[in-house]
């Protein structure tokens, strides 16, 4: 009887293990892709990220897929809203059965959805969410390839401090988990250089900036920094230009959305001489992989050039695919172990995560936010110096390591 019980238990365990393995490797293997596809999210950016993630799916499947299966990227619309992001993460995991999640544009989306993924042991590689706390909570299943907000902000204020005779900076920020900390870090950095900062925060859906522009004008700033995502960046830049406060009037750093040069020139025809922060390796140093992605992306989206956030979205899917292949399973713990030891040749450069369960950031004197954080994101500042110029052709004016041209400071 005892022997029969043992045999029965062994059979049940074997069946469970078999069914678990079969479930883990059921084809196709699904990875979630978070992206904003409806207002008030940055819909244009979201569509670009979706296109890039679907190109990643196609490329990975063309190269043999994952664990012998096809990859299927399940796109989920976050609308740029935290509550929608949590719901979408829950849906991806519980209804769609994804084994990992990539993408995401807004920091608030990352902040809200990371706990859901971590609690359900689903690895996430966030593509374009900057808020420090996303990795700062040191959650096992959360990784990021976008720069930290504090780090990205430092490039903003360091570049600003190079503007001749600068005394006062006006910052327009969105009141989100990305905008508020980024504005605070930037203001702090400017203060360290003896420069005063005045911050104006707005809702992400704001269209009319006339009153804000007038108030900003009354502050008499020497430089303007825009930390607003989506079309808000375009609306503000052109309305500021209409009021004599645009990129042709005073040194002006436009929002990152200005990297989509075709849309930028259509929406901000008076936007020449704007500075724009760019994430990732400069175009003149792009690898074959990045160049191929750019061509595929342009063909799919009809855009002038691929934006940094779309490259990040592509890499977030590709790195997860590699991690699953290396792990040999879709088990969350195994994927995390693979991600912690990964070396992925992405479109943004070689991606790896030096800090995690094996090595705490504090060992190297770094803060918690460096947990599962890719440390080599290239941050540069370009400047449009000709009307209609592509962001790829625009010279890099900062930092010196990547510099391809001198900045032009208008109104000096």
């Amino acid at each position: 009887m005892k022997r029969f019980g043992l045999l029965a238990a062994t059979a049940i365990l074997a069946l469970a293990a078999y069914s678990g393995a079969a479930e883990a490797q059921s084809c196709p293997i699904k990875i979630g892709g978070l992206t904003p596809l409806s207002a008030p999210g940055a819909v244009g950016a979201g569509e670009g990220m979706r296109a890039a993630m679907l190109i990643a799916e196609k490329d990975i499947n063309a190269a043999g897929g994952i664990l012998g299966c096809d990859l299927k990227v399940i796109i989920a619309d976050t609308e740029g809203l935290p509550e929608k992001a949590s719901a979408m993460m829950e849906k991806l995991i519980t209804q769609d059965g994804v084994v990992a999640v990539g993408g995401a544009y807004h920091s608030s989306v990352g902040v809200a959805s990371k706990d859901v993924a971590n609690n359900r042991k689903i690895p996430v590689v966030f593509a374009e969410t900057w808020n420090d706390t996303i990795t700062g909570d040191k959650q096992k299943f959360i990784f990021r390839i976008a720069p930290l907000s504090s780090w990205a902000s430092s490039t903003l204020w360091q570049a600003a401090l190079l503007v001749p005779n600068i005394k006062k900076v006006a910052i327009l920020t969105e009141n989100t988990d990305y905008g508020i900390p980024a504005a605070q870090e930037t203001s702090k950095g400017l203060a360290s250089g003896g420069v005063e900062a005045v911050t104006f925060s707005v809702d992400i859906g704001t269209q009319d900036y006339a009153g804000i522009v007038e108030r900003m004008k009354a502050e008499k700033p020497d430089y303007i920094i825009v930390l607003a995502t989506g079309e808000a960046g375009y609306n503000f830049a052109q309305q500021a230009a209409d009021a004599g406060m645009g990129p042709q009037d005073i040194p002006f750093q436009a929002g990152q959305v200005a990297l989509e040069s075709k849309a930028y020139w259509e929406n901000v025809p008076d936007g020449n001489f704007a500075f724009v922060q760019r994430i990732g390796t400069p175009a003149n140093l792009w690898s074959e992989k990045a160049l191929a992605l750019n061509e595929a992306y342009k063909a799919v989206t009809n855009r002038g050039v691929i934006e940094s956030y779309s490259m990040e979205a592509y890499d977030s899917i590709a790195i997860l695919a590699q991690a699953i292949n290396e792990a040999g399973t879709t088990d969350g713990d195994a994927i995390v172990a693979a991600l912690e030891g990964i070396s992925h040749e992405g479109t943004l450069g070689r991606i790896y995560f030096p800090y995690g369960t094996k090595k705490d950031p504090s060992v190297d004197g770094k803060g918690d936010e460096w947990w599962h954080q890719w440390p080599d994101v290239a941050l540069t500042m370009i400047q449009y110096q000709e009307e209609g110029q592509s962001s790829v052709d625009a010279p890099i004016v900062w930092p010196d390591a990547y510099k391809t041209g001198e900045p032009i400071y208008v109104n000096q």
Binding site: L37, S38, A39, P40, V43, G44, G46, E47, N175, V198, T199, F200, S201, V202, D203, G205, T206, Q207, D208, A210, G211, I212, E214, R215, A218, E219, E231, Y234, N235, Q238, Q239, D242, A243, G244, E260, A263, E266, N267, P269, D270, R303
Partner: protein, 422 residues
């Protein structure tokens, strides 16, 4: 704010007397069996502006509550608040910088006129059909989209006026077709809950239009080029143009007030069309028929007016007005399939503020919201909060209106959706 205790002290005093005045006035008017519909508003405003000095005679004499008695204390309350603010924050741009104040007022007026115009369409639909169209923002969006595609993609070089007219015609046709196909069951007794049906079906239209445009036009922000350039004007002289100076895209008045070309042309167009609409409603047979239906459907039908036809005309006209606002603003704002959401929300606020179904109320309500937003953005001491609260300013006015004058500025006491004052 340098002396916050001054401002908050005065504000607290005003709130106290406003609440007291609102309750006391209603009580005294009720006791004498007088009309109390405007008593809380007048009591609150008189209490806020004068305290017991004005309130006591009002309660004792209970005079007839005329328009003057409503407007004057309201303006005085605003004045008292402004004076307190001036003493509390003397360094504020709204106190110390005259040209800034002038610019903000002009900005508020311009955007308020556009808001008001947008709300007109919603008002027209509500007064005739008795439903709030939740697709109003989408008509605004398609007006801009069609104008953009006409002027920049399909027929580059087309006269902008013609493009705008075609966009308006398209919106009119969509509105008319939708009303015939989906709204007729409302007044033919085919649905149990016509008002709820109207809301749901216009919601459906909103989603259909929005996602259809997103699928066909994409989600990248679009923007039309400026329709007209300002002529070069330098007055009183080229050497010293202190009165007015124009460039192609901008106009400067008194060397202080700067108005961008797209906003200016949009506001002027809105005023012209508002005038034309008022002429249509008051001087033409069809306009009078519309007004008649808004006042009493049955009586209008007895007089030979076909109310069903007026329903179609009102819905189509309302959509066309929103489309015209969109067509004028696509040269000012970046345009997306979702661009109508915020203006539609504002229109709902203005609809209630102006008085459900009142066309002059919608226009005045729009201007008030525009000015209030400009004041909030410009004067709130913390710039970080000033701009963040833009969506809240309209809601503050709405809340105050609902508290003190639930019928809105120009609404009638017993107005319902289908019977508001025209």
């Amino acid at each position: 704010m340098e002396f916050p205790h001054i401002f908050w002290g005065v504000f607290g005093w005003m709130i106290f007397w406003a609440v007291t005045g609102s309750i006391a006035t209603r009580y005294f008017y009720l006791r004498r069996d007088l009309d109390t519909s405007n008593a809380p508003f007048v009591g609150a405003m008189l209490g806020a502006s004068t305290g017991p000095i004005g309130l006591v005679p009002l309660c004792l004499n209970t005079p007839e509550l005329t328009t003057r008695l409503m407007v004057m204390p309201a303006l005085a309350s605003v004045g008292v608040l402004m004076i307190a603010f001036g003493f509390a924050d003397p360094e504020n741009f709204c106190v110390a910088n005259g040209s800034f104040v002038a610019s903000q007022i002009v900005n508020g007026l311009i955007i308020g006129i556009i808001y008001g115009f947008m709300a007109l369409g919603l008002t027209l639909i509500f007064s005739i059909l008795g439903v709030v169209s939740f697709a109003h923002g989408e008509f605004y969006m398609i007006g801009g989209m069609i104008t953009y595609f006409l002027t920049k993609v399909w027929l580059p070089g087309i006269n902008p006026i013609l493009a705008i007219s075609l966009a308006c015609l398209a919106a009119f046709a969509i509105g008319a077709a939708f009303e015939r196909m989906f709204l007729t069951p409302m007044y033919e007794g085919k649905v149990d809950r016509p008002v709820e049906y109207g809301i749901l079906v216009t919601f459906g239209l909103a989603f259909t239009i929005q996602y259809f445009v997103q699928a066909t036009a994409g989600a990248n922000p679009l923007k039309a080029s400026r329709y007209f350039d300002f002529p070069r004007i330098r007055l009183p002289s080229s050497a010293d143009p202190w009165l007015i100076k124009t460039s192609r895209g901008n106009m400067e008045l008194f060397e202080t007030i700067s108005i961008s070309n797209p906003r200016f042309t949009a506001a002027v167009m809105c005023i012209i069309v508002f005038g034309a609409l008022m002429f249509f409603l008051h001087r033409t047979w069809t306009g009078k028929a519309l007004r008649a239906v808004s006042q009493d459907r049955e009586a209008a039908a007895i007089a030979g007016i076909n109310p069903d036809r007026m329903n179609m005309l009102a819905f189509a006209l309302g959509g066309m007005i929103a489309a015209l606002a969109g067509a004028m603003l696509v040269q000012a704002f970046s345009w997306l399939p979702q661009v109508g959401a915020i203006p539609a929300m504002r229109s709902f606020v203005i609809l209630v503020l102006g008085g459900l179904g009142s066309i002059p109320g919608a226009f005045v309500g729009g201007v008030i919201v525009g000015l209030f937003e400009a004041a909030g953005t410009g004067c709130l001491p913390d710039p970080q909060k000033a701009a963040s609260y833009i969506p809240a300013y309209g809601m503050i006015i709405l809340t105050l209106t609902l508290l003190l004058r639930p019928t809105g500025l120009f609404g009638r006491r017993f107005a319902t959706g289908a019977h508001g004052k025209f």
